[in-house]
Amino acid sequence: MVMNTPEDDPFIDRPAKVQIENVSYWYGDQLRLRNISLDIPANAITTLIGPTGGGKSTLLRLINRLNDLLEDTRMVGRILLDGQDIYAPEVNVSELRRRVGIVFALPLPLPGTVRENVLYGPKLAGVRDPTRLEEILVRSLKQAALWDEVKDRLDEPSNALSGGQQQRLCIARSLAMEPEVLLLDEPTSGLDPISTGKVEESLFALKKHYTIIMVPHSIQQAARVADYAAFFLGGELVEHQPGRNIFTAPRDKRTEDYITGRFG
């Protein structure tokens, strides 16, 4: 793989927030990720692109150890958050997941009201102070561009919201924990263009404070939001480049084929 040079990579001097070092991953005896190494810069949107089954979502879920919930899997290599190995035995997984939030492809509101949904994370972390919880509620919903729509419906059941609102609720739920890294697994796949636009807008605002790693639901979306893009194919990382470059000047033939729509 060709390495990036300072000329074409504005992020190369930034310290990596997340470092993925030689990670391979098996589900059963299937190899899902083959020797991935990737540095993810802070305060930027990194998109993982490529055809379905390329290992993007799998990698995403390795970064907050959600794959721990699966049986019969194996990983080698290291993943570092701020230089600290997140798979080290002394790591408190709950603490890790509070720092690395995730939003799934489908809106998955938990049972309960809008308010309860946003506050699950802080409450699980032991926050009890009502004024602080109220602050978190308002801030998270505003950050997720949902506040204006639900401020009078906070005590309605969450499944009374529309699909787009539910997905932004899930984003707010992750933001409530003030994560440092936000993982987004095709967060707009079930949404209409208007809701998608709202979510993307809020992402631009969020990257000032957060490191965002996203599996976009289309190349177009990747092109709109990506500061940085990594192309995955069949469990391998083919190339990674700043976003504007990968879409205009892909280095690898396979990336070019994908971008220009020849497969995928």
Binding site: L66, L69, L70, E71, L81, Q84, I86, A88, E90, V91, N92, S94, E95, L96, R98, R99, P122, A125, G126, V127, M177, E178
Partner: protein
């Protein structure tokens, strides 16, 4: 605030570890109970098999007061009543399951299923009471036999007690047959009736066998109703008319005699010995019924 070092452990971490290990222990406890039950049956019943000669407890006469502990009439009595019950219950149960699952209109299903659940909930002593007061006189007059308290009466009651199990397990088995099988049959021009008996029921065969096994297990272990309606005569049920004469089962023997024996006597141990036989018998039946549990299954998805 929310965050500490990645390696921070909160106080709740320890109390959770306690809760989780408690849950683990509770999960394991079921194995412990089975072992415990078997051990305590052995503890009280094992001496019987050593003290009494084989020829005696495999004999044909059960007269504990005279030191005769032949368990054969009791075992055969149980088998006679149980098998007859299954012979009655299987066609009824299978037909009902097929009716409920494949034929019945919705309203009939809504009526049938709760009624069968009601049957499952009726205590065995109530069924026994009903059997001795209503069914037994009926059997006596219609069959013109000296007493209505017969193996056959017991089998009828047992059949109805086994029915809820058989119906619900068979129903699940029918339900598990893919719709595509039915569609394929119908597409070939078969009638619904032909599809049911030539496609659906054969495809559900293994589930129906499980239903029968579970029904069998339930019937052989049934105690109160059987004791109240079978007349309890410990005789070898070898002649053709045995079905219509009193009989005595293993379960009824334990229930009827345990109250009157001296602890630690041979008779006391003999009753535990019968308990061991029953335990082993039902264990084997359930093992056979539960065979699918031992087939490796793989779960997908996040857990």
């Amino acid at each position: 605030m929310l965050k500490g070092d990645l390696t921070t452990r909160t106080k709740t971490y320890q109390s959770e570890a306690v809760i989780e290990s408690l849950i683990r222990v509770l999960g394991f406890s079921t194995i412990g109970f089975v072992v415990l039950i078997f051990l305590f049956l052995l503890r009280q019943g094992m001496p019987f098999f050593f003290q009494v000669p084989w020829a005696n407890f495999l004999g044909t006469r059960w007269y504990p007061t005279f030191g005769l502990f032949g368990t054969l009439p009791l075992i055969l009595g149980s088998i006679l009543v149980t098998l007859t019950a299954i012979v009655i219950a299987l066609p009824l149960g299978l037909a009902t399951a097929v009716f409920v699952r494949e034929v019945a209109p919705n309203w009939a299903r809504e009526v049938l299923k709760p009624l069968i659940e009601v049957l499952a909930g009726i205590p065995s002593v109530v069924l026994g009471f009903f059997g001795m007061n209503i069914v037994a006189p009926l059997v006596r007059t219609t069959l013109d036999v000296p007493t209505g308290l017969t193996a056959f009466t017991g089998a009828i009651i047992l059949a109805y007690m086994a029915l809820p199990t058989i119906v619900s397990v068979a129903e699940d088995a029918l339900d598990a047959v893919p719709k595509s099988y039915r569609d394929a049959g119908l597409a070939l021009g078969a009638t619904k009736w032909q599809v049911i008996w030539r496609v659906v029921v054969p495809a559900a065969r293994s589930g129906i066998v499980v239903a029968v096994m579970l029904g069998l297990g339930r019937a052989i272990g049934e105690t109160m109703a059987v004791m109240m309606v079978t007349g309890n005569a410990a005789r070898m049920p070898l002649t053709l008319d045995s079905l219509f004469r009193p009989v005595r089962t293993m379960t009824a023997t334990i229930a009827a005699e345990m109250g009157e024996v001296a602890q630690g006597s041979v008779h006391f141990q003999a009753l535990f010995g019968i308990g061991i036989i029953l335990f082993v018998l039902t264990f084997l039946i359930n093992l056979a019924a539960a065979r699918p549990i031992f087939q490796k299954r793989r779960r997908g998805g996040l857990r």
